[in-house]
């Protein structure tokens, strides 16, 4: 992989061009990660340098949608990190139950696995019907897949194991039907979810919610953009609302740390003061 100061100059120019032309703002993303993503994009799209890639992005309308698939990382699983969901059931749901109606924001929902995991857990805990989930992302292809709620059958063993480890009282098979090599999630889950395009980098708060989860999204941002994104989450949460982050993410290095407290020993869960 070609690295060095010149490479970084080209990358900054490309990200500026993308911002001005397409209004996607990657300028405050983790540089170490962007370098990797662009090295892969250059190899796959057949561009020797980032400057060539920039030229193509600006002049060939087909290129940016493809590049966006490299710039955003679409990796997810149902009940990824089962202990997160176990903690949700035992520590968070009892308080959520006290609300007559619930709004939940899943920021950076990718292809839907995280919001469907929450919906399944909420159904198991008997609070699905009173809940509206807002699931947002900047990647239109991912949002389309999320709305379809269809996953390859070969992913089901991992999903099932994760679901079991999360302390589930039901079997995952009660929540999907298998057809033509795919698992189709229950329509009743989908009914509670609103999917939409929303960027943590450029958009603002859109609802007051009792729960936000944003997992493995902030790791792709630099500290300044993390603070912007966490500010949106802080402002959309009601008092005593909950914030759930990825396993290795923390508020420790954020200026918003004082707006939250940690209700339990689990590192990933925070509560709005």
């Amino acid at each position: 992989m070609m690295i060095g100061p010149d490479e970084d100059i080209e990358i900054r120019l490309l990200l500026d061009a993308i911002y001005h032309r397409f209004h996607y703002d990657f300028r405050s993303y983790s540089m170490a990660s962007i370098r990797r993503r662009l090295a892969q994009a250059r190899a796959q799209l057949g561009c020797e340098t980032t400057s060539r890639l920039q030229e193509r992005v600006l002049h060939d309308p087909q290129t940016f949608p493809r590049l966006l698939q490299f710039l955003t990382v679409q990796v997810s699983d149902l009940f990824r990190d089962p202990s997160f969901f176990a903690m949700l059931r035992t520590e968070i749901v009892p308080e959520l139950r006290t609300y007559p109606s619930l709004k939940v924001w899943v920021a950076g929902c990718s292809t839907g696995e995280e919001v469907y995991s929450l919906a399944i857990a909420f159904r198991e805990e008997g609070i699905l019907d009173r809940t509206t989930f807002y699931a947002t992302d900047i990647n239109p292809d991912a949002l389309r897949k999320a709305e379809a709620a269809v996953y390859p059958l070969e992913r089901i063993p991992t999903f099932t194991e994760n679901h079991r480890l999360s302390g589930a009282p039901t079997s995952l098979s009660e929540h999907y039907t298998a057809a033509y090599g795919s698992a189709v999630l229950d329509r009743s889950l989908r009914k509670q979810i609103v999917f939409s395009d929303h960027s943590l980098a450029t958009d603002s708060v859109f609802a007051e919610v009792q729960l936000v989860t944003c997992r493995n999204v902030l790791i792709y941002f630099d500290k300044a953009l993390q603070d912007r994104a966490l500010g949106l989450m802080r402002d959309s949460l009601c008092r005593r609302g909950f914030l759930g982050l990825g396993t290795k993410e923390t508020l420790r290095f954020s200026s918003h740390a004082t707006a939250f407290r940690q209700p339990s020993l689990a590192e990933q869960w925070y509560q709005r003061c």
């Binding site: 992989m1 060095g4 983790s30 170490a32 990797r36 990190d81 790791i219 500290k223 290795k248 923390t250």
Partner: protein, 203 residues
């Protein structure tokens, strides 16, 4: 031990960071290297060991009791401070930013590996340039070979366990084929070089 002149720089403490990559046999190998480092080691040591993907890694507790140097698993955006051996968390790639903070990623495995040694080494190469020491130990795949090439290109120093003495020779062999190592030797010899660098107060 095979050694070139820049190894004297390492022994004199002229380095800012060490990265280590290993897979099969890695726990035993690190059991020779890490206990050799004192608590006051001025530089960070960042380690990728391939492990089965699980939520919680047992490695940190395994080494804590046996090492003077602090052992930790970084959180996203944590400073890459010295005096600590930082272990990549299972199921995440671990990267170093130019401002010497950690960044994590769950992007797809690289050659079936997450964490990937190549990903760590390439990012550390651009963060530390010629002040980086990259070490490849025993392992049964070729992860790390691209990484040492990037370290070399950025002017850093490459140390490889002698494949003839490695529990699994494939990883160190692939690395030394890709970038001519500045030193190649046994675990004890590599440990002695790093320890010398850690106690030299030349910085």
């Amino acid at each position: 031990m095979l050694r070139r002149e820049r190894i004297a720089d390492v022994e004199a403490g002229r380095l800012e960071a060490v990265v280590i990559g290993t897979s099969a046999g890695g726990i035993n190998a690190l059991g020779v290297i890490l206990p050799a480092l004192p608590a006051e080691t001025p530089f960070p040591v960042v380690v990728v060991v391939h492990m089965p993907p699980r939520e919680a890694s047992p490695i940190v507790s395994v080494f804590k009791s046996r090492c003077a140097i602090a052992i930790s698993e970084p959180r996203d955006k944590e400073d890459v401070t010295g005096g600590v051996a930082w272990f990549a968390p299972p199921n995440y790639h671990l990267l170093v930013e130019s401002d010497h903070t950690f960044a994590l990623s769950i992007e797809a495995p690289v050659n079936h590996c997450r964490p990937s040694i190549d990903a760590l080494f390439e990012s550390a190469a651009s963060a530390y340039g010629r002040h980086l020491v990259a070490v490849v130990l025993t392992g049964a795949n070729e992860d790390g070979a691209e990484g040492v090439a990037a370290v070399r290109e950025a002017g850093g120093i490459v140390i490889v366990q002698d494949p003839a003495t490695a529990e699994m020779p494939l990883m160190p062999r692939a690395a030394s084929a890709r970038a001519q190592p500045d030193a190649m030797g046994t675990l004890q010899e590599i440990a002695a070089v790093l320890r010398a660098g850690a106690i030299a107060r030349h910085r």
